[in-house]
C-alpha cells in the first residue's frame, strides 16, 4: 500500500494505492484521482525544465524543456545530457536542443527566443 497526495486539483486528496490489488485507489474524491494514483505508481512521468549554455544571446543561459513528459526515473540522466550542450544565438522557441533523451524519442527543446 502506497500513500500519495493527488495533484489533479488543488484539493489534494490523500490517496492510498494498493499495488497488490491492481493498483486500486482509495481516498480519491473523483475518478481522475484513481487514474493519477495508478499512473503515478506504474509509470510516473515528469516534464523537465532546465537551461543550457548559449553564446551570443542577451543572457548566457537559454531555458529548455522536454517536448513531452519523460519517465521519472530518467530525470538525472536527462539533466546530464544538458551539461555539454552549447547553443549559438539566435535560438527560436521549439528548436531541438537534444534529439532523443535516453532512447525515449522525446527531445529537449528551447523554451524561448534568444
Amino acid at each position: 500500500m502506497k500513500e500519495l497526495i493527488c495533484i489533479v486539483c488543488p484539493k489534494g486528496c490523500h490517496l492510498k494505492v494498493d499495488e497488490n490489488d491492481n493498483y486500486s485507489v482509495t481516498g480519491n474524491d473523483c475518478p481522475r484521482g484513481a487514474e493519477y494514483g495508478k499512473k503515478e505508481l506504474t509509470a510516473p512521468t515528469r516534464m523537465i525544465t532546465s537551461t543550457v549554455k548559449v553564446r551570443g544571446g542577451l543572457y548566457s543561459r537559454c531555458p529548455v524543456k522536454t517536448a513531452a513528459p519523460i519517465p521519472k526515473g530518467l530525470i538525472f540522466e536527462a539533466m546530464k545530457l544538458l551539461d555539454n550542450v552549447e547553443l549559438q544565438a539566435p535560438v527560436r522557441v521549439g528548436d531541438v536542443v537534444v534529439e532523443d533523451i535516453c532512447g525515449t524519442g522525446i527531445a529537449f527543446i528551447a523554451a524561448r527566443n534568444l
Binding site: 500519495l4 495533484i7 489534494g12 515528469r46 516534464m47 523537465i48 525544465t49 531555458p63 523554451a111 524561448r112
Partner: protein, 420 residues
C-alpha cells in the same frame, strides 16, 4: 511649449505579463497610441526567469514555461500598435498623468498620458522584513534572486541549501537547485500547511526526498562570512518553542516568504492603497482612486496564477483605452466589505452601471478549509451563496455576481466564508 516630450493615449508602466496583456487589450479596444515602459532589457518581467512549466492552462489551454508564456504575449503585442521602451525606468507619475522616466538610450523623458495602467508587479519580502536573527552572513537571498542567478545568468548561489517558506517559488527553487547539483536540506514553513500547490509539493519536494518542516521557522543564522549553519525551531503560532531546535550545516538560505506589490510610484502619484493587499483600491474595471489611472496584476494583489493576471490586465487595458477615448463612468458605488474568512477582495468598489452581465470578485481566504460556504449579503439580506469543497490562502478564489443581483444591493455588500 508643452511640459512633456511625447503624448500617448495609454501608457502602461511595466512590461511583464500584466503590462503586455494590458497594452494588447488597449490596442484591441480602440487605442491607437499605446506605450509600454519596461525597466529591464526585454519585456516579459519575472516570467523570463520562471523556466518551469505550468503557465497558461487557463488562457492558452496548454502548459507553457514562463519564457514561452511571456514570448507568446510579446509576439501578440508586436502585432499591435503598441510602442515599447525597454531599459527605461519610470520614476514618477504626476497627478496630471505625466510619466517621467529615465533611459540610457532615450534620455530623460516626460510622457503625457490620457490613461495610465500601473503594472509594476511585486517584490519579494526580505530577511530584513521578517527579522531573521543571527549573523549578517553572505548566502542569504530571496528565492527570486537565486532564480535569476541560476536560470538567466547561469550561476549557482550555493551548494547546501535551506529554504524558508513553502510558497511556490520556494518549492520550485528547491527542485531547481537540486537538479543543478545542490543539496536542499530542508524547506521550512512557519504555517501548519504549505502555501504552495500540491503539485509542487509532490513534484518539487517529494520527488527528491526534500523534507518539509511545517510550523517551523529559522531562529538563527550562523556564519561570520558565508552562512555555515542554520537553526530552525518549531513554533507555537509565531513563537519559537525552546528545545525544538534543529541545526543544519549549510551555506545558503533561500527566502520565499511572501510578495509585496510595488506601489511606491502609485503612492507618490496619490493613488489610494488598500492596506490589506498593499495594492491600489480598484473599481470593477481596475481603475484606481485616480481617474484615468488603472492597475492590474501583482501590483494590485499577488496572484497565484499568471493566467489570472492576464485576465485582469485585459480588463484594465480595455478600460484604459475606453477612458482615453472619452468614456466616463458614473452612477452609484457599492463598497465590497470583507467579513471573517475573507482577507481582502479585488475589486473593492463596484459601479453597477458599468457592469454588463456580471462582476467577478477575487479574494483569498484566511486558512485551509474543507467544505465551505461563501455568503454575499447586503443590508443583512442574502445576495448570493457559493459552495466550495476546498479553500486555501495560497489560492485565489473567484465568485461571480450577476448584475441583476447587484442592482438590488444597498451601498455595500459583505462577503463572509463559513464552514459548511
Amino acid at each position: 511649449m508643452s511640459n512633456y516630450d511625447k503624448h500617448y493615449e495609454v501608457v502602461v508602466v511595466g512590461g511583464g505579463p500584466a503590462g503586455l496583456a494590458a497594452a494588447y487589450s488597449a490596442c484591441q479596444n480602440g487605442a491607437k497610441k499605446v506605450l509600454i515602459i519596461e525597466r529591464d532589457r526585454e519585456v516579459g518581467g519575472i516570467l523570463n526567469q520562471c523556466v518551469h512549466n505550468g503557465f497558461g492552462l487557463h488562457y492558452f489551454k496548454e502548459e507553457l514555461t514562463g519564457p514561452e508564456y511571456a514570448g507568446r504575449f510579446a509576439d501578440m503585442v508586436k502585432g499591435t500598435c503598441a510602442d515599447i521602451l525597454v531599459d527605461t525606468m519610470v520614476l514618477e507619475i504626476t497627478p496630471d498623468k505625466i510619466v517621467k522616466c529615465a533611459s540610457q538610450q532615450h534620455g530623460y523623458l516626460a510622457i503625457k498620458a490620457d490613461a495610465v495602467v500601473l503594472c509594476m508587479g511585486c517584490r519579494e519580502r526580505t530577511r530584513g522584513a521578517i527579522e531573521i536573527p543571527g549573523d549578517r552572513s553572505a548566502g542569504v537571498l530571496t528565492a527570486g534572486t537565486a532564480q535569476r542567478y541560476v536560470n538567466m545568468e547561469g550561476y549557482m548561489p550555493g551548494k547546501k541549501v535551506v529554504i524558508l517558506g513553502s510558497g511556490d517559488i520556494g518549492l520550485i527553487m528547491a527542485r531547481r537547485m537540486t537538479l543543478e547539483g545542490a543539496k536542499v536540506l530542508a524547506v521550512v514553513e512557519l504555517s501548519p500547511y504549505s502555501n504552495g500547490l500540491n503539485r509542487n509539493i509532490v513534484q518539487c519536494l517529494n520527488d527528491y526526498d526534500i523534507p518539509l518542516y511545517l510550523s517551523h521557522t529559522i531562529t538563527n543564522i550562523v556564519g561570520k562570512t558565508r552562512v555555515e549553519k542554520v537553526v530552525i525551531s518549531e513554533v507555537d503560532g509565531f513563537t519559537p518553542i525552546p528545545g525544538t531546535e534543529i541545526e543544519f550545516e549549510c551555506d545558503t538560505v533561500l527566502l520565499s516568504v511572501g510578495l509585496i506589490p510595488e506601489n511606491e510610484i502609485s503612492i507618490r502619484a496619490g493613488v489610494t492603497i488598500d492596506p490589506r493587499t498593499r495594492g491600489a483600491v480598484v473599481y470593477e474595471n481596475m481603475q484606481t482612486s485616480m481617474e484615468g489611472v488603472f492597475a492590474s496584476g501583482n501590483v494590485v494583489h499577488v496572484h497565484d496564477l499568471v493566467d489570472f493576471v492576464t485576465g485582469e490586465s485585459i480588463r484594465a487595458g480595455a478600460a484604459a483605452a475606453e477612458f482615453a477615448l472619452g468614456k466616463r463612468i458614473g452612477g452609484r458605488v457599492i463598497d465590497v466589505v470583507t467579513k471573517p474568512g475573507v482577507n481582502y477582495t479585488v475589486p473593492q468598489k463596484i459601479r453597477p452601471d458599468n457592469i454588463e452581465k456580471s462582476v467577478d470578485i477575487f479574494f483569498r481566504t484566511n486558512k485551509v478549509r474543507g467544505n465551505s460556504i461563501i455568503r454575499v449579503t447586503s443590508d443583512g439580506a442574502k445576495v448570493a451563496e457559493f459552495k466550495r469543497e476546498h479553500m486555501a490562502p495560497g489560492e485565489m478564489e473567484k465568485i461571480t455576481i450577476p448584475k441583476v443581483l447587484l442592482d438590488r444591493c444597498g451601498d455595500s455588500i459583505e462577503i463572509v466564508v463559513e464552514d459548511a
